[in-house]
Amino acid sequence: MTDTSPAQKRLQPGISSGGFDLGRLLLEGRAFFALIAIIIVFSLLSPFYFTMSNFLIMSSHVAIFGLLAIGMLVVILTGGIDLSVGSTLGLAGCVAGFLMQGVELKMFGAVLYPSVWVVVVMTLALGALVGAVNGVLIAYFKVPAFVATLGLLYVARGIALLMTNGLTYNNLGGRPELGNTGFDWLGFNRLFGIPIGVLVLAVVALICSLLLTRTAFGRWVYSTGGNARAAELSGVPVKRVQVTVYVLSGMCAAIAGLVLSSQLTSAGPTAGTTYELTAIAAVVIGGAALTGGRGNVRGTLLGAFVIGFLSDGLVIIGVSAYWQTVFTGAVIVLAVLLNSIQYSGRSKRALAGNGNSNGKPAAPQQGAKA
């Protein structure tokens, strides 16, 4: 009875595993197959869908959600949730816009025009700050993640509205005589024919993937989400990990805010509203468990592409916006359904391998955290 069966092994999600099995491929690769199916269906329905230019346009839309989703993934892996990313995105865009307009220094009677890299650094710092507030509230003051980040969702949105008085910053292009041009580079330019936003997503995804699979921090993230008590007793600095993941998530949101406002060359205070939900959906479609400990960057990226390619495809074939919402919702529900099949199958098999039913995961603190 102490033997393990291959069935349990192959359902252990994670970083690497060998062997070939069709059932596992279909279940674990469901986001990939969904993406292929979406591309095939829309290519048949519209002659414009399967073109290079369309793919590039759709990908730059995906970049925004993808950046948010990767930050969200890191948080969800620890068993948390970050509802504030949409607002952080909006706030980051507004702060970038504000800085690009020039900062008036009354004392000196002058207007300071920071160069673009200063704007980028300050915006990232802002995202990190929002994340740090989330993280400290959650890790040290034991505020449930849902509530803390919900609070920040409102606060960040409110600050963005206050800053702009509800209006939108336009003209983010900068002026050559002020030395602050180049902001639109992120959103408009291409490198080797690929939009910069997509490249930014690729770089962030690569860094996060390395972070999660190849560093001690990554292992800390997975163990904190899997069983925070056990992780703590194994010497994992659980509280620091929790703060760090929210900081990372906030920075990802700030990057997404920069890319979006650059794409639009304008920054509005309501940008990114409800994007946090899209990001969560992408993470879930990508196979991560909301209870923490399971999921990876590859899946999340696929999830973001599924959502992006689906909604853009529906626009292209002219389906009404109302129906788009219905379709997106159905895809999310289906994904969660498959997730629960995957993970409940796993624990049942573990149970079978062990007459003492130790397959039951016992992590009582997770329920309280969510």
Partner: protein, 513 residues
């Protein structure tokens, strides 16, 4: 218990039986054509190692699982349960090995969960509370019905679980490891309750790893090994040796204190340590306790539940911060350090509840083993896969974990092997002091003796070992020194030539036990 008999019929006749019951999941055969009888008004004990299929059989009998083949006969009639509530409706209830209480609800609400006493105006909480108080009085446990279950210690939670099963007035009561978290006094009370139940005609199925304890109350014994019944007999026909022989096929020996190695310098010195109570931070669970342990020495801490053993170890390891006092590791003050810093300096804890505090269920066996030593296979920024594999492979061999390899899911291992993973994880950090809180809880005799052998071997290499236990036998196994805790203080200290009676007297238990 003052209720009238709830079951009529001849004492000793078969009331419930499993006929040729098999249960498999795919290729895993947990039970193979098992025949098992439950006798009216008597205790039938099911013996077997972890993974022998005991819990599976009990879950089949109580309707949690449906058998793959075979049938269940209740009072001469073939029955087929669709769910546990079907079985409960026919008077069969089960106390699970893993607690199935809602921690966020009160004791009262847990006991009446799903069968609340309804009146026109809603739930009759006063009546529920009154009945809960009566149950607690029967069990001689001072638990307020309105306490939240999450605020209770593990042993008290087990009492609540037992109380819930008693409150249903079952005619067949299945107890799967009911005593694993109970102190000797509480076990006595439980046995008294079992005698009362028997006299009311209730049939009891009992599972326990405490073989001697189970022998005290059993009328019939059935031994299960690898999903098949290997032996059965009446109390008069069986003995401890008979059970163990049929369970494992070799001798039951937990070892003896290792000798022939040098006892070194003081590795751990605890100076007047006070630890706050988990429920009431004002109160001290541990009151100014001092202890020193030398390298190569094995110290056993014995005590009743609530004596403060867990708090003591958790405070030394850094999970709980001390109210007062200092902790020195090889002369170095570690009192203010984090858990991680203490692990780096060589002080580790193997926690009591391996599911809750020991294992990360979402990770593989290998990732669990390497979790506390990530630094050892990190070079610069990145972890080295090959170094990690080396570390995991060595741990699996050293601790003798039966697994397909590091990639296997942690849930696929038996309880004993899971415990070895938790111990292996901590030994992989190359500690100089290892604290183990109830390392033998819920694992079979074979795994127990392996765990104790590991500790002996560690001590011979110069490791300072401190372990706690609730079984007097295990105190006398490998410990050089036995410390008895009573109400947060050390009440006695013995060398390995002490008798069981002396230990139990010092812990505040009845000598008669």
């Amino acid at each position: 218990m003052s209720q009238s008999p709830i079951s009529t019929g001849t004492i000793g006749e078969v009331v419930l039986s499993a006929r040729d019951v098999s249960k498999s999941w795919g290729n895993v055969h947990a039970l193979k054509r098992v025949n098992f009888d439950v006798h009216r008004g008597q205790v039938t004990t099911l013996f077997g190692e972890n993974g022998a299929g005991k819990s599976t059989l009990m879950k089949v009998l109580s309707g949690v699982f449906r058998p793959t083949s075979g049938e269940i006969v209740l009072e001469g009639q073939t029955v087929s349960f669709q769910s546990a509530s079907d079985a409960r409706a026919l008077g069969i209830s089960i106390i699970h090995q893993e607690l199935s209480l809602a921690p966020n609800l009160s004791v009262r609400d847990n006991i009446f969960m799903g069968r609340e006493i309804q009146t026109i105006t809603g739930v009759d909480y006063a009546e529920e509370e009154r009945q809960t108080r009566l149950l607690m009085a029967d069990l001689e446990e001072d638990i307020d019905p309105l306490t939240l279950v999450e605020d209770l210690r593990l042993g008290q939670q087990q009492i609540v679980e037992i109380a819930r099963a008693l409150s249903i007035n079952s005619r067949i009561l299945i107890m799967d490891e009911p005593t694993s978290a109970l102190s000797a006094t509480e076990v006595e009370v439980l046995f008294k309750v079992i005698h009362d139940l028997k006299s009311r005609g209730v049939s009891i199925v009992y599972i326990s790893h405490h073989l001697e304890e189970a022998l005290q109350i059993t009328d019939h014994a059935v031994v299960l090994r690898d999903g098949t019944v290997t032996a059965r007999g009446k109390r008069s026909e069986i003995s401890l040796e008979w059970i163990v022989r049929n369970m494992v096929g070799d001798n039951y020996d937990l070892g003896s204190p290792p000798t022939g190695h040098e006892i070194g310098e003081v590795a751990l010195f605890v100076d007047h340590l006070s630890v706050p109570d988990a429920l009431n931070a004002e109160r001290a669970a541990i009151d100014r306790v001092s202890l020193s342990v030398r390298a190569g020495e094995i110290v056993c801490i014995y005590g009743l539940m609530g004596a403060g053993r867990t708090e003591f170890l958790e405070c030394i390891a850094g999970r709980i911060s001390a109210l007062g006092g200092k902790i020195f590791l090889r002369g170095q003050d570690v009192t203010g350090l984090t858990i991680g810093q203490r692990i780096q300096r060589g002080l580790v804890l193997v926690p009591e509840d391996r599911q809750r505090d020991g294992l990360v269920q979402t990770m593989t066996v290998g990732q669990n083993l390497s979790l506390a030593s990530i630094g050892a296979f990190t070079r610069g920024l990145f972890t080295s896969r090959s170094r990690e594999q080396g570390l995991i492979g060595k741990a699996i061999v050293d601790v003798r974990i039966k697994t397909d390899g590091g990639q296997a899911a942690i849930g696929s291992l038996s309880g004993g092997n899971q415990q070895k993973v938790v111990i292996g994880k901590m030994l992989t950090t190359n500690p100089s002091v290892v604290l183990l809180d109830e390392p033998s809880r819920g694992i079979d005799v074979g795994a127990k003796s392996e765990v104790f052998r590991l500790l002996s071997e560690g001590a011979q290499r110069g490791l300072a070992v401190v372990y706690t236990t609730s079984e007097v036998n295990e105190c006398l196994a490998i410990a050089h020194r036995i410390i008895v805790f009573h109400r947060g203080r050390i009440s006695a200290e013995f060398t390995s030539d002490v008798t069981k009676e002396q230990i139990m007297a010092a812990s505040g238990e009845a000598v008669a036990a």
